[in-house]
């Protein structure tokens, strides 16, 4: 066991996989000598050489294309997007080439596309994206987003070992702010499994990523009012672990779906719709969605705070549900 940051956990997981399996390699902009914009790949060039830590031109489509082609040849690429926002620049090749390959031809594309997502750091409209909803609607692509160092390492390993393309979202707010115990032994966190972060009987909050901490903080406050919130951290966003969510809702009968991306068309819609479909009889109140406003992500910290859901809104929403 060693305590390490979320960022270090990703780095370690990646390095361990590269050491374990020579087919695993890293590709992306500035990931070599510089170690990546956030230093996730720091030290990898020195350790594994330029053949396996490939710095690229500013060409997101070429990065994903190269990853796909090399995966056909048996490699297991881990492609970094400097900010996950730039996934918009390779949307086509990722959703149409990589994600549809197995279904069409049986040719799997084992590849990880990873990058920093999320707001709360004044990144503005192009460096704060939470793009999961754009990809949830893409059969053939998996999506994960860890919230702890433990999960970050376990999930990056699972993603690398997965035989299908995985979009690996790293919440940049957590990179250096979250630190927890990570086992020395090899382990994976299986893709597709949510986890209950805090048990509670009154209201379920379904969330993931950095919002997990916001939810836990709200739960703490609510506990002082004797409202017991169950906080579920989805960890995998596609495929969703409906089981864990439904079990909780069957117990609490009330649910808040919380995420950082904008509200309309967000992943919260899918989660809420699925809960209603499968758990209607359990619901004492409609699932409530808490999400960001339907605007681009504003830059100014005060604006961004007004844009994003916070502890206060969660407390209020849960409070209303309790009264419902």
């Amino acid at each position: 066991m060693a305590e390490m940051t979320y960022l270090e956990a990703i780095r370690q997981g990646l390095a361990e996989e590269m050491a374990r399996d020579e087919r695993v390699y890293a590709i992306g902009e500035d990931i070599g000598a510089y170690g990546g914009a956030f230093k996730v790949t720091e030290g990898l060039l020195e350790r594994f050489g330029a053949e396996r830590v490939i710095g690229t031109p500013i060409s997101e489509t070429a990065i994903i294309g190269a990853a796909i082609g090399s995966a056909y040849l048996g490699m297991r690429p881990v492609a970094e997007l400097q900010f996950i926002d730039f996934v918009a620049c390779c949307f086509n090749i990722l959703t149409n080439f990589a994600a549809k390959s197995r279904y069409r031809w049986g040719a799997g594309v084992p590849m990880v596309v990873r990058g920093p997502c999320g707001g709360g750091v004044s990144g503005g409209p192009f460096h704060s994206a939470n793009p999961e909803a754009h990809f949830l609607h893409t059969p053939g692509l998996k999506i994960v987003e860890p919230s702890t160092a433990y999960d970050a390492k376990g999930l990056i390993k699972a993603a690398i070992r997965d035989d299908d393309p995985v979009l690996f979202l790293e919440h940049k707010f957590l990179y250096r702010r979250v630190k927890d115990e990570v086992p020395d032994a090899d382990y994976v966190v299986p893709i597709g499994q949510a986890v209950v972060r805090r048990p509670g009987d009154d209201v379920t909050v379904v969330t993931f990523g950095a919002m997990t901490y916001t939810a836990l903080e709200a739960a703490e406050q609510l506990a002082q009012r004797d409202v017991e919130v169950e906080v579920i951290d989805l960890r995998t966003l596609s495929p969703l672990d409906h089981e864990t969510v439904l079990q909780s809702v069957a117990k609490t009968n009330k649910v808040v779906v919380l995420h950082e991306a904008q509200r309309t068309g967000g992943i919260g819609a899918e989660i809420a719709a699925a809960i209603t479909e499968r758990g209607f009889e359990h619901l004492d109140a409609p699932p409530v969605r808490l999400a960001s406003l339907d605007t681009p992500v504003p830059y100014n910290p005060g604006l961004e705070a007004a844009f994003r859901p916070g502890v206060e809104q969660i407390v209020a929403a849960v409070g209303q549900l309790v009264e419902y």
Binding site: R23, Y25, E51, R52, I54, T56, P57, S59, E60, T61, A62, I63, I64, G65, A66, A67, I68, G69, S70, A71, Y72, L73, G74, M75, N92, I93, N96, F97, K100, S101, R102, Y103, R104, W105, G106, A107, G108, P139, G140, K142, D162, D163, D164
Partner: protein
């Protein structure tokens, strides 16, 4: 254009090689002729996109590859797949959306792959979005290098396709990484209805390569041996670690974009001029003139090709459609679906491993 250098790679081609080249071009045309019949009979699901007039360049360029190299064909590069040994039946089943097609009826025409774990030709299928095959095939070259395989990756791009961002990013990446990639850029005068003059402000398509600092040359795309020569030079450079090349081929799409296209925008005089330059007829004449083959020899090949195309089409026609209840399987790993494509060899080689042209090291480069 360095086609005038003393030794040409094609000088090393044996008589059998030369006849095989002819056979592949003929077979390509015969398959498409048969597809056109099936299309008119409403047996083709969706559209039919012919390579009439361009069979020579697809065949001759792919002929420069070794057996275990990788090729990625666009819609008009059936010839390259035939050269690499894709069984014609597979192509017919694709067009007819059969359940036993390489995509099990899930995708159309030449949209299929064949990626054996080791050994045998690699075929990477396209997606419809033009340009993406360039970075993907650059990736195949990269993967091959990492796996210690000395293969060359070849793909095609139309005049229209060179305008896509994906083409640019893929070419540049291949150049920087010195990947074993050969791109055949086909100036066939149109992209759908768009003439080349509205596609690029360039007189020669191969000039696109200047932006990447990679070697390029332009050849008469309807002269099969010229295409072979230029492709072979590019393949050798790639194989020897000298990075990517682009070969521009000057050719003409002799039909509309697809069979349903009214062709009204196409220049009639241009079509007529190119009709006289049909690549198969020219190569036929060359073989006879140089006494490599007699008219009778070639007529025999013609007959063999046609019979084969028809037999394959008939086999394909008899295949069943996919079972509707297979529709949901195979989105993720763990499902049972693992298609295979049968690889066949021409009567001029008959079995795997028979060299189809002089080995790389001896070829003039």
């Amino acid at each position: 254009m360095p086609t005038s250098t003393a030794t040409r790679p094609s000088d090393d081609l044996t008589r059998d090689d030369r006849l095989e080249l002819y056979y592949f071009a003929r077979l390509t045309r015969d398959i498409e002729e048969r597809l056109a019949v099936l299309y008119r009979q409403n047996k083709v699901v969706g559209g039919l996109y012919r390579s009439l007039g361009q069979e020579g360049e697809s065949v001759a360029s792919a002929y420069a590859l070794a057996e275990d190299d990788a090729v990625a064909a666009l819609i008009r590069n059936l010839g390259s797949l035939i050269v690499q040994g894709i069984r014609p039946r597979a192509v017919f089943t694709q067009y007819m959306a059969k359940g036993t097609s390489p995509t099990r009826g899930r995708d159309l025409n030449l949209h299929f792959s064949h990626i054996p774990d080791a050994g045998g030709p690699i075929v990477v299928g396209p997606i419809s979005m033009l340009g993406d095959l360039v970075p993907v095939m650059a990736g195949v070259g990269l993967g091959a290098r990492m796996r210690g395989r000395a293969l060359v990756a070849m793909t095609y791009i139309g005049d229209g396709g060179t305008s896509t961002g994906a083409f640019h990013e893929g070419m540049n990446f291949a150049a920087v990484q010195k990947l074993p990639l050969v791109v055949i850029a086909e100036d066939n005068k149109y992209a759908y209805s768009t003439p080349v003059s509205q596609q690029m402000a360039l007189a020669r398509i191969d000039q696109r390569a200047e932006a990447y600092g990679i070697p390029h040359e332009m050849v008469d795309g309807n002269d099969m041996l010229a295409v072979y020569d230029a492709s072979r030079r590019a393949v050798e450079r790639a194989r020897h670690g000298d990075g990517p090349s682009l070969v521009g081929v000057d050719t003409m799409r002799m039909r509309g974009h697809a069979e349903h296209d009214d062709m009204r925008y196409m220049s009639k005089p241009l079509l007529d001029a190119w009709k006289a330059r049909d690549p198969i007829a020219r190569y036929h004449a060359h073989l006879v003139e140089t006494e490599i083959a007699t008219e009778t020899d070639l007529a025999e090949i013609d007959a063999m090709s046609r019979a084969y195309a028809e037999a394959e089409a008939d086999l394909a026609e008899a295949e069943p459609p996919p079972e509707p209840d297979t529709v949901a399987a195979g989105v993720f790993a763990g499902d049972h679906f693992q298609p295979t494509v049968e690889i066949v060899y021409s009567p001029f080689r008959e079995k795997r491993g028979t060299p189809r042209h002089a080995p790389a090291s001896e070829a003039g480069s």
